[in-house]
């Protein structure tokens, strides 16, 4: 049979298996333009044989359920974030054909940042932007694209420049960017408009297939329900009211002149990733000691001080040693906006069990490098816990009597050996020498691998040793019955 038949494209599911709705029809209102655009996209996918490669990103809005209709890969993105999700898909699956489908509430308001930057990066995806000038799904509220004078649920007197500003012209905005290769606006008001939309849909998808770059088609689409009009009047409204404001034209077409680009596959090994991030220097873990692991308690630490005193690094190094001992560890920093001089603290958990929460609210061990930290956290120490006070800077004594307190001139010790910034390493050396929680020797092995400035490795090891030595000479190791030192 050679008769050509126009029928439901195969890129639609045979049955729309939608919860609680009709199983054969879409959920769109009569006369809604979404169905037209869906058909044109599905037809294009059919004709280009792209069903197995296509990932359709549904937005939030009326077209949120597009995944019930398209028999392709589907992801439904958070409101406005379809281009960001599409970026992730395309960047990890270079061979995929990413179709990001969004309405005007989604794209032109809630996800403005995402669409602008996806376009500006020239992500190799195709964006179909359905513009009906309102938030249709939620009941016809004003959108950034609503026309001046347009009465909506939220502009009952009509949109005014003074109150809501001018309608935003997304196709024009996108076309000003350098990266996009094809930017057009079309409409669905009449057959000519629909067939032009069909042409642009194909062109945009074909450009993606050829690796040309970012393509964007804005489609003026009727919303008879939201506009409170019948289908016929809706189409007249597009022609009479919308088109004068949103002209249908091709704003940019660089498809012919733009070189194709196929992103190379990158599949780094774990080691390469760690190296690239400067995290790969910890080396082989220490030999596993099952007895040690079985008896290891869950320990919560907080290291607090000025930014620049190295409390975050101290926490990270302790966590790194714990990790190399096969413990479960967590480290999270907390700091202000200042790179130097603000207050900072690090929470560290070491445990023989998976760490539930990395937040340390009641530390077993608190190290304070300055007065504000002691004021802030002394109260939080678990009863019977340990507080290490940097007595070079902090002159007051602990208020708590139900905890153990060590006063160590950490900054002075570091300064004496010529590297004031190494007070944090003095702290770790002193703590492990005192507590014997983990071997000081292991700490010395990790320190040069774990710090950022590798050329200072030896001095940092010295600082660890200086801290340990101070404890040996002034305090001795922690006794079984911990005494409160004063």
């Amino acid at each position: 049979m050679s008769q050509q038949v126009l029928e439901k494209p195969h890129s639609f599911y045979e049955k729309f298996d939608r919860k609680g709705g009709p199983q054969k029809t879409t959920h769109y209102c009569p006369g809604c333009g979404h169905g037209n655009v869906h058909k044109l996209i599905a037809e294009t996918i059919d004709e280009m044989g792209l069903a197995d490669r296509t990932v359709f990103i549904s937005p939030v809005g009326c077209s949120v359920f597009a995944y019930y209709y398209f028999d392709v890969g589907n992801i439904q993105a958070a409101h406005g974030r379809a281009p960001a999700v599409g970026t992730g898909v395309k960047r990890t699956r270079h061979n995929s054909i990413v179709i990001s489908y969004q309405g005007d509430g989604d794209l032109a308001s809630i996800g403005t940042a995402e669409i602008i930057h996806a376009a500006n990066r020239g992500e190799q995806m195709t964006v179909f932007f359905i513009n009906n000038g309102i938030y249709g799904m939620t009941g016809g509220q004003m959108a950034a694209t609503s026309l001046l004078g347009q009465k909506t649920a939220t502009t009952p007197y009509g949109r005014t420049v003074e109150n809501e500003g001018y309608p935003i012209h997304m196709a024009e905005v996108i076309a000003t960017l350098e990266a996009p290769v094809f930017v057009a606006r079309t409409h669905l008001a009449d057959l000519k408009g629909i067939m032009n939309t069909r042409k642009c849909v194909r062109k945009a998808v074909q450009a993606q297939v050829e690796g040309k770059g970012f393509t964007f088609v804005e489609i003026l689409s009727p919303c008879p329900t939201g506009w409170k009009m019948d289908t016929h009047t809706s189409c007249e409204y597009i022609v009479d009211k919308m088109l004068p404001v949103f002209p249908d034209k091709v704003f940019k077409d660089l498809i012919a002149e733009r070189e194709s680009y196929v992103r190379p596959d990158v599949d780094p090994t774990d080691e390469e990733v760690l190296d690239a991030l400067d995290l790969g220097q910890l080396g082989e873990p220490f030999p596993k000691d099952q007895n040690f692991l079985d008896n290891f308690p869950t320990m919560n630490f907080k290291f607090a001080g000025f930014g620049g005193q190295g409390v975050l690094t101290a926490g990270a190094i302790l966590a790194a040693v714990g990790m190399q001992e096969h413990l479960q560890v967590s480290w999270i920093p907390s700091y202000g906006p200042e790179m130097r001089g603000g207050t900072a603290n690090a929470s560290v958990v070491l445990s023989n069990k998976p760490v539930g929460s990395p937040m340390v609210v009641k530390p077993d061990v608190l190290a304070v490098m300055n007065d504000p930290s002691m004021d802030a956290f002394e109260e939080t120490i678990a009863p019977g816990g340990l507080m290490i006070v940097n007595s070079t800077i902090i002159t007051r004594k602990a208020k708590r009597t139900d905890i153990e307190t060590l006063y160590i001139p950490l900054t002075q010790i570091a300064d004496d050996m010529g590297l004031k910034a190494a007070a944090n390493m003095v702290l770790l050396g002193a703590y492990l020498e005192y507590s014997k929680l983990l071997p000081v020797d292991h700490l010395k092995q990790i320190v040069p691998r774990g710090i950022k400035r590798k050329q200072l490795g030896d001095q940092n090891i010295e600082a660890v040793e200086a801290g340990a030595k101070w404890v040996r000479e002034n305090v001795g190791a922690r006794k079984a019955e911990a005494a409160v030192t004063a």
Binding site: M1, S2, Q3, Q4, V5, L6, E7, K8, P9, F12, P22, K24, T25, T26, Y28, C29, P30, G31, C32, G33, H34, G35, N36, H38, K39, L40, A42, Y69, D190, L191, I194, M195, R198, P224, T231, H232, C235
Partner: protein
């Protein structure tokens, strides 16, 4: 031997939402709505092909927002 087939359009009654966009774009005017008829299961009075005069242009197919409601058999030859 093959012989030319007559173009025609089929509107699937239970998929039609009666938006009537097909009627607007149909140049020969061979699609109509019948307000005497009962409603389909969606609650709409579906449109239908008058029975002859279709040129198989496909306008109604593209104007129809519903994926499967309109099927157009273009002019061609059948085996």
């Amino acid at each position: 031997m093959s012989e030319p087939t007559t173009p025609s359009v089929e509107i699937v009654p239970h998929l039609c939402k009666a938006c009537q966009r097909c009627i607007e774009v149909c140049k020969p005017g061979v699609i109509e709505t019948n307000l005497e008829r009962a409603f389909n299961e969606l609650g709409y009075q579906w449109v239908e092909y008058k029975g002859d005069g279709c040129t198989g242009c496909g306008a109604c197919f593209y104007a129809c927002p519903e994926p499967g409601a309109v099927i157009v058999f273009k002019k061609g030859t059948a085996a």
